[in-house]
């Protein structure tokens, strides 16, 4: 591990890569503050840029920096104007915005920055410990286990989709898998389902799809509902003073940060759970275990109420890199986009990554420390200026967002048909959003589709049929687990409904 760490240090501490971290964090923070543009959209927009860089380590470091930056930027807009740019920072606005109204915006942002830093750093340490161990187990896997593992991942994503959403999430996964079969497959040199259209020969572009699924619907929603980008009461909070926190407050939030970093990390590791669930759960847990008078404070501007979701969501972001880097299976929409970017850069994430290209793996981990540090020291003094981004009028902002989604699909393909596909899919995705269909499973299915089919085909060829399912106990066990995961939510649904009623009373 020490050897790997040194390799990572050597790779990460080059001038270009440090520039990538700083640039990524800044871009992420700026764009992440804009309501409606979450990490997924931002990373999708940045991918063409990252791919042009060519060096996989640098590209991944840039994207990872953008990712943390976006999560942090989302908390900034949650706190300042009660407009969470990202679902995972909604919980931050519960206490962050009340603090802003009390004139303590600076303090709230400081608590958020410190908690994010601690969450991210603790997450990176845990990642360093757990990823190599998991990868060495994963090296024993054959294609049939990989196939089963991906099925588990996909069903877990559906299982965590939420109440009443499991069938929809599963259907979206299937739709993504179906879309992935369009075009020329790797195993068979014949085009499938192209309907004779030349532009479909190589399948749908993954960036186009990512833009169409996330960035475009958000932009359309912003157009449809002008209030979406405005603050609740329109007050001007650009004056930010008093960034300091007292010793007493520091003492109170330290255990919260410790607990939530651990909890958040492990939630992040689970496929499908991710930063949003981690932040809500972190908030709920901390409120439940706080003392009576502190419980009163939650929702009215408690520092604990900011520290809990902030450390949890950053730790979860780091945690979500574990399945991505060790198994090559993305647990969330964001890591799915990262996986797509890695494949485009000719890197195949999975257990071999640590053996074949340790410098990439370790450089990413080192960049996590760096990124968190950069966020802390760069953003804290810059917060008042960064907040000015929120003053860009929407009449200018929206055309630019639309333009960047178009550019993302166009650059690298140089094909105007891709843009028409983007608009078409964007409209479909907006309709799906209207009808409450989760879109992340679609993209994850689309990205995992070829990998799933290849491993399935290889196992079928090796065992001359589906015999591999019962011939290999691990495969069978994993597939059974997948079935349990899909069936389980009907129980979870009932429990969640009870719990939701409890939370509603508490609010």
């Amino acid at each position: 591990m020490l050897e790997g760490l040194m390799t990572g240090l050597a790779t990460a501490f080059t001038f270009t890569n440090i520039l990538m971290v700083i640039g990524g964090c800044l871009i992420g923070t700026f764009i992440g503050m804009l309501p409606g543009l979450g990490p997924m959209s931002i990373i999708a927009i940045m991918i063409p840029v990252a791919i042009t860089i060519g060096d996989p380590s640098a590209a991944l470091i840039l994207l990872a920096g953008v990712y943390y930056g976006a999560v942090f930027g989302g908390s900034t807009s949650s706190i300042l104007i009660n407009a969470p740019g990202v679902a995972s920072t909604v919980a931050t606005s519960f206490d962050g915005y009340p603090m802003t109204r009390q004139g303590k915006a600076g303090k709230a942002l400081t608590v958020a920055a410190i908690s994010s830093f601690a969450g991210g750093t603790i997450g990176a340490v845990l990642l360093m410990i757990f990823a190599p161990a998991l990868a060495s187990v994963a090296l024993l896997f054959h294609s049939s286990e990989y196939f089963a593992l991906m099925v588990v991942g996909l069903s877990a994503i559906a299982a965590f989709a939420g109440t009443g959403q499991v069938t929809k999430a599963l259907l979206m996964t299937f739709l993504g898998l179906i879309m992935a079969t369009v075009g020329e497959g790797v195993l068979f040199n014949a085009p499938r389902f192209t309907m004779g259209i030349m532009d479909l020969q190589s399948g749908f572009g993954f960036i186009t799809l990512a833009m169409a699924l996330f960035a475009l619907p958000e932009a359309i929603f912003l157009v449809l509902d002008p209030n979406r980008s405005k603050s609740a009461d329109g007050s001007d909070n650009s004056e930010i003073k008093d960034l300091r926190i007292t010793r007493d407050e520091a003492r109170r939030i330290t255990p919260v940060i410790g607990r939530q970093s651990l909890q958040g990390f492990f939630i992040g590791v689970l496929p499908g759970a991710g930063a949003t669930i981690a932040s809500f759960l972190g908030y709920a847990v901390e409120r439940n275990i706080a003392s009576k008078e502190e419980q009163e404070q939650f929702g009215k501007g408690s520092v604990k109420g900011i520290a809990a979701p902030e450390s949890a969501n950053n730790a979860a972001c780091t945690g979500s890199f574990v399945p991505l880097l060790t198994l090559g299976i993305p647990g969330s929409g964001t890591t799915a986009i990262l996986l797509g970017a890695l494949i485009a850069l000719n890197v195949s994430p999975g257990p071999r990554l640590m053996v074949d290209e340790p410098q990439i793996f370790w450089a990413v981990i080192i960049s996590m420390y760096l990124g968190n540090l950069v966020l802390l020291i760069l953003n804290l003094p810059l917060i008042p200026y960064i907040a000015k981004v929120l003053a860009v009028p929407r009449n200018f902002l929206i055309p630019f967002i639309l333009f960047f989604t178009l550019m993302g699909a166009y650059i690298g393909q140089n094909n105007a048909t891709e843009l028409l596909i983007l608009v078409g899919f964007g409209v479909c995705a907006t309709l799906l959003r209207f009808a409450d269909y989760p879109l992340a499973p679609l993209l994850i299915g689309f990205i995992l589709g070829p990998l799933l089919e290849n491993n399935f085909s290889r196992a079928m060829q090796l065992y001359d049929g589906v015999g591999f399912i019962w011939d290999r106990p691990m495969t069978l066990a994993l597939l059974v687990l997948a079935v349990i995961l899909v069936v389980l939510p009907s129980y979870r649904q009932r429990r969640a409904r009870d719990r939701a009623e409890g939370v509603a009373e508490g609010d």
Binding site: T163, I178, P399, I411, A416, Q461
Partner: protein, 163 residues
């Protein structure tokens, strides 16, 4: 019927068409030697088609109960009339126009027009500011993509560029 079930119906139709292609038309062109292998190009699509049909059917029939609560942050379809649907449609049209004009007009011209008309559709009427912002942005982005990132973007109309 709620919109999510209508959409499930559409997806069901897509899956049926997909399944038809996978089960009945795809294997006709398969060379005989390939047919001896345990896996055909159509094997995986067949599995997917069956799964997709079953899942969309279960949504159309409303087997899984969905919660009635609506997310506060999302748009409520019931009062669609209150939203700026016209603006959204016009902007989508503008994106299509951009896609069609990008080659004939070149990157600089079409991007300038896109940003200018885009803010116009959204209700901006400070024409000088709009023109300045659009022109600077188009130029700056072209420079960034073409010169800094090294991706070729045809800046001028096709006929001035020699194709």
């Amino acid at each position: 019927m709620a919109i999510d079930r209508w959409i499930a119906l559409v997806i069901l139709l897509i899956c049926l068409a997909y399944g038809y292609a996978a089960f009945f038309t795809m294997d006709q062109l398969l060379p005989p030697i390939m047919k001896q292998r345990p896996i055909w190009p159509s094997t995986f699509p067949k599995v997917l088609a069956v799964g997709g049909i079953l899942l969309s059917l279960s949504i159309v029939l409303g087997i899984e109960k969905s919660p009635t609560k609506k997310e506060a942050a999302d748009i409520n379809l019931a009062n669609l009339g209150e939203y700026k649907v016209g603006q959204a449609l016009m902007l989508l049209g503008l994106m299509v126009a951009y896609a069609l004009l990008l080659r004939p007009l070149g990157f600089l011209g079409s991007t300038f027009l896109f940003l200018f008309v885009g803010s116009f559709i959204l209700g901006e009427r400070r024409y000088v500011l709009m023109a300045v912002v659009s022109a600077i942005a188009a130029g700056f982005i072209w420079y960034l993509v073409d010169a800094v990132l090294g991706i070729f973007l045809s800046p001028l109309p096709a006929m001035l560029n020699g194709g």
